[in-house]
Assembly symmetry: C2
Amino acid sequence: MPPVPSTIPTRRKRTGAPRQNNTRHILNAAEKVFAAHGLSGTRMNDIAEASNLPKANIHYYFRTKEDLYRATLKQLLDDWLGDASKWLSADRSPQEGLRGFIEAKMEFSRKRPEASRLFAHELLSGGRYVHDFLVDTLRKHVEQRTRVFKAWHEAGLMAKTDPVHFLFCLWAMTQAYADVQVQMAAVLGKPHLTGRDYATGTQTIMQMVSSLLPPSPPETAE
Amino acid sequence: MPPVPSTIPTRRKRTGAPRQNNTRHILNAAEKVFAAHGLSGTRMNDIAEASNLPKANIHYYFRTKEDLYRATLKQLLDDWLGDASKWLSADRSPQEGLRGFIEAKMEFSRKRPEASRLFAHELLSGGRYVHDFLVDTLRKHVEQRTRVFKAWHEAGLMAKTDPVHFLFCLWAMTQAYADVQVQMAAVLGKPHLTGRDYATGTQTIMQMVSSLLPPSPPETAE
DNA sequence: GTCTATAAGTCGATAGAC
DNA sequence: GTCTATCGACTTATAGAC
């Protein structure tokens, strides 16, 4: 219960509908623009145009460009981790878990390429703004996945491999389908990747991962 | 022989020793700075400081920032292709060829991380400045590697896989060791990657690739 | 909360002395 | 060829009317 339920509209925190709507709009637009040009390469004007608001309004909701950048990154990092802990879990089989994980990561690259690219941009620039996320959240996350891989290995369900570098490889392959999309499309001679390209990519990655799994009967044997 | 071996110093093209020295210095410095911040995020001042020259001198050798950016990219693209055609060649075995290729790519990530990152930065930003390279040079390069993979497959030396996406995966994994180095180091709890980390990475990637190779006797069986 | 107009500062590029 | 000093365009951020 709020301490003073008087007739005065609760003003303790600014949570009006227009505010929520606008900040959401701005953050989405900012993700796109920051993804393409990074922090220093982005102009507040571009974000203003992308969100159909006057530049001053952006500054009203986010005091500085850096504040907006931090907020944009923040909303992205949770999504980036996604369902990893759901799929890479010891109560699943490696086949099921790895397939689910790879498909989820490919889905993220397809549906939120800008989020992936913004994270990549930040890492390329030194990762100063995600340092805490990397050494706290992400490191613990990797430790937990590591335990799952080791459990699989000890149960004889998966070949022995360096679990951390294995995860690095999975990240690298799946994120490439967002980050260097333009390179892939150019090589394939297309304006952009299609659903089939993502499917073939998923298939190819699964094939590489399968080297660590024990030989299994064909999935849909007759 | 020059057409006019007179006493006048040949001035047809500007090729003096100081010029060659300075341009080389500037290009090296520019690679580092552009790699971290991209074209729009880089200040000519930073390049000037990184190359220990007054800003005006940079403009003397490269008229505009964009000219310098193009020149920096140009010197990089050849190196990026590297020895690929030497290793991924039909007169090698897949084992030997893939190992050599992966080791060469990892070596590049280790020795020239800035080159890799600058290319990544450019692709993230849309790849406008490497468009011709992508659709001409790189596309032909991929077609040739594709033929090698197919030859290996038809000779029964390698499992059937999509050759282009397979190459995408190899690029992604090896370049990650340059591009997201900062993420890897943070997860591993180190200030930077060591030689052993690159070795473990190479090993892990080889392990994943081996799923496509026929079961072979242990490399150094007794 | 919204938006125009502008202040304050930064950056690419060049003039011009040496 | 080298380098200082500076111009002019652009960009972040804010003041202040509505």
